[in-house]
Point group: C2
Chain length 335, copies 2
DNA sequence: CTGAAAGCGCTAACAC
DNA sequence: GTGTTAGCGCTTTCAG
């Protein structure tokens, strides 16, 4: 067995309390006993038992992270940022996949509670229906990517994101615009609304709206089919499409290319998320960047603030920016 | 405070031991007392304290997962599979990012040890240099994606993967082949070797070898530059390139297109990993699929076997397969 | 079948 | 300054 604090205490000829004090840098310990104790700690290769520490009343230094999907680049990049910041702050991260199921979300919450996680960073399955589960668990919670009233939330304004993309399109010189993606699902709808509102108040035309479900499990083949179907029925009049996310944008590009359009020569396309896909797509994809690293980092900071000082729920709205790439800027105006 | 086992015991008029027995389904409890206890468990909303349970000598039901990078699709998909299987088996996953640093790897190992993780699933930073740290920690360890002698390892044969890709190229009808990627780094080198060996024994020509470092932090711009540089100096004679991974393949495609080649019309390209990038690239990218889900699932099973019965280290070599997509199959033979 | 008692390894008053 | 004493909440012999 590994050496326990008891062993160190005996060897050093002091009590466990003293060893504990030395290890937690309590000031009231003589330099000599401290040295002596540390000496034995070293010799015996003593390592603290974090479980025992936790039980004895301290925190677990464990935070739970709940996402609807781990492998979607958008989430995995946030997870990476969270892990990074958490590790830096001395916390470990338990990763949990809700799979967009309210039931699994509830199960995970009780599990995290029983594990005595110090707090939770979560993308809630549903802004409306998840709230009660999160309230019930009575743990510090910071919501991310969605604005959830009553909780600390770190997110971007999707509406404003849509506006920014519209501005970008107007700047490049597009006049007839299209949209591909969900029109009613809460966050997507706001992107769409911002986009549409800005276009209409600036007398641009919104001529093609191709409705699609949001991609799940990184599968967006529906987008491909809907684009083709739409083209067959209505034809395509847009010079540029704003797609609801990068996967949707990629699928849309594939469909448009298969229909014989060159991108961005004939039709330009932009996405949302600025994930790895946007950087590696051909042509490289203009995309609206959510500051993923900042979201992750901020979420950890906010959560720790809440854990340490029980701060009141607050909303943190982060800035987005358009990352312009070849898929829109290399478009040739027909004029 | 939440109800403790003590509270339940008092209300039910039994001892904590009995409550414990009921909760762990110990057979020697009367149906009536069991019912009574469960009744109070329900009424008081009792939830077990997993920390206390762990300390009292049981396991933590926590497994650590160590990867060099969380957000790279290849890893994030494995992580997702691991989380999924682990959750199914009643385990939670602590996610740790080694960032390819041996030092961080060591730190993480001691942390996981102090946390009393039941076991570890890891992509070691270095097959040679990581071994000692992992041995020292004396925890059940299952290595993934790399073959590590002396440890349970779940991986694919990179050499064989290279061979399979070579076969695919020969089947399609290519005769002059190229390679893009690292030539010396251990696993990459084996892919390359398998590819080369099979080509040469089948009298195909390996005419262009563009050496590049493996991408880190999802940044492979070096690939783009090296391809351009190589083309300027040597010209390009290959009909098809095998790229060491999907990101490299994407960057290579971008470079080749910018050089005026059409893909796969003039030059075909294939990648390795069959990550999301391969599916969403334009043209869709032929790629060698590692069975990521299977790797994750198998790793959990192997680790749990080791935890529960201390099985002897064993190597599990999984099958790969070529997922043929437009980037190679739509190539038009010049004949 | 059930209870009493002894820990798991550590922290944190409270004395001296 | 340092030791003593109680726990933290649960499991697990060992008796009865």
């Amino acid at each position: 067995m590994a050496a326990s604090m008891q062993d160190v205490a005996e060897k050093a000829g002091v009590s466990r309390a003293t060893v504990s004090r030395v290890l937690s840098n309590h000031p009231s310990v003589t330099a000599s006993t401290r040295k002596n104790v540390l000496n034995w700690v070293e010799k015996l290769g003593y390592e603290p038992n974090l479980i025992a520490q936790s039980l004895a009343g301290n925190s677990t230094n464990l935070i739970g992270v709940m996402v609807p999907e781990i492998a979607y680049p958008f989430f995995s990049e946030i997870i990476e940022a969270i892990e990074n910041q958490a590790f830096y702050e001395g916390y470990n991260v338990i990763i949990c996949n809700t799979r967009r199921s309210l039931e699994k979300e509830r199960n995970i919450l009780t599990e995290l509670k029983q594990r005595k996680a110090d707090g939770i960073i979560a993308v809630p399955v549903s802004v409306e229906q998840s709230v009660s589960s999160f309230k019930r668990v009575k743990l510090p919670v910071t919501m991310i990517t969605k604005r959830v009233e009553g909780f600390h939330s770190v997110f971007i304004s999707h509406y404003d994101g849509g506006v920014q993309m519209a501005k970008h399109f107007l700047n490049v010189g597009f006049r007839r615009m299209g949209y591909i993606g969900p029109v009613s699902s809460s966050t997507s709808a706001r992107k769409y609304a911002g986009y549409r509102d800005h276009l209409l108040t600036n007398r641009a035309e919104l001529v093609d709206i191709i409705e699609c479900d949001p991609p799940e499990n990184m599968n967006a083949t529906q987008v491909y089919e809907n684009v083709k179907k739409y083209a067959a029925v209505h034809g395509i009049r847009s010079e540029v499409f704003f797609a609801n996310d990068d996967i949707t944008a990629c699928e849309a590009m594939a469909a448009l290319m298969d229909l014989g359009y060159s991108i961005p020569g004939d039709i330009a396309v932009a996405g949302f998320d600025n994930s790895l896909l946007a950087k590696e797509a051909t042509p490289k994809l203009t995309s609206l960047a959510q500051p993923l690293e900042e979201i992750g980092k901020k979420a950890v900071e906010v959560l720790l603030g809440q854990i340490r000082q029980n701060t009141d729920p607050q909303l943190y709205e982060l800035e987005t920016r358009v990352v312009a790439r070849a898929s829109t800027v290399n478009w040739k105006s027909p004029l």
